[in-house]
Symmetry: C2
Subunit: 127 residues, 2 copies
DNA sequence: GGGGGTAGTCACCTCGAGGTGACCTGGTGC
DNA sequence: GCACCAGGTCACCTCGAGGTGACTACCCCC
């Protein structure tokens, strides 16, 4: 198991922490996780995805998909019908990513009560 | 295993995805992961932590620590010496969090070459 | 011909994350 | 008295993420 301490000490390659934080930040942005989760159920077209995700603007869906596609997590396939359709799907890489993410999701789900309790206690102390 | 699809469909509790994305975003911010990794090696005082993390401003260290403390991931202990010292350490919750995070870190480390390759290919296509 | 669905792009705006530097309190050493 | 440490807070600034609405181009149905 890679220890997060490889992150803080330059000996482990100081870039690794940057890469990990970047990955977390990318998934932690407002829409990526929602999109990956939606595509996890199967391929979707642009407007299907838009309806599925909910209140996302065209611009944000378009730009978030572009980032995910660039990183090789999502594939974009133009289907030459009339009118042309565009299908988005998770790549193998995208599907594999869901495994560690689901661990973190599970941890979060299990521990949300503890976090909320800590927060409430902190706030009551701070006034 | 909690599937990320609980995220997208309201039936699973639509708040869960928000909580997961929040967690990812919190860890994905510029400093949290670095701080958690540093404290993973043992408790540190404010300025020790500051030197350890690198080029972080006092304000950002202070505010990031406050958020982590509020969420119960980090503890803050004032030691009544002269001058008073403040020691920061991971709580049990913070230590437990490192497990799923290290899975994601491992995935990221292993797959960074694939991501970089995808990015390079995407950029070359796009010009 | 007009309304609607397909998949977007472009220009503009807002708002908060993150950074900078000054300042504070209360020591200790010279 | 003066400088310097610890551990911060406060006021101010910048810059980019994310949002809004208009616009494109093409086709189908009524």
């Amino acid at each position: 198991m890679v220890d997060t301490r490889t992150c803080a000490r330059p000996e482990g390659g100081e870039g690794s922490c940057g890469a990990i934080a970047d990955m977390l930040a990318r998934l932690g942005d407002k829409w990526s996780l929602l999109i990956v989760a939606s595509l996890g159920e199967g391929p979707l077209r642009f407007n299907e995805l838009r309806r599925h995700v909910g209140e996302i603007s065209q611009k944000m869906l378009s730009s978030t998909l572009k980032v995910l596609e660039r990183d090789g997590l999502v594939s974009r396939t133009v289907i030459a019908t009339v009118p042309p359709q565009v299908e988005y799907a998770l790549t193998d890489l995208g599907r594999e990513l869901r495994v560690p993410v689901s661990h973190l999701a599970e941890w979060t789900t299990v521990n949300t009560p503890r976090i909320l309790a800590a927060r409430a206690e902190f706030d009551s102390r701070a006034g």
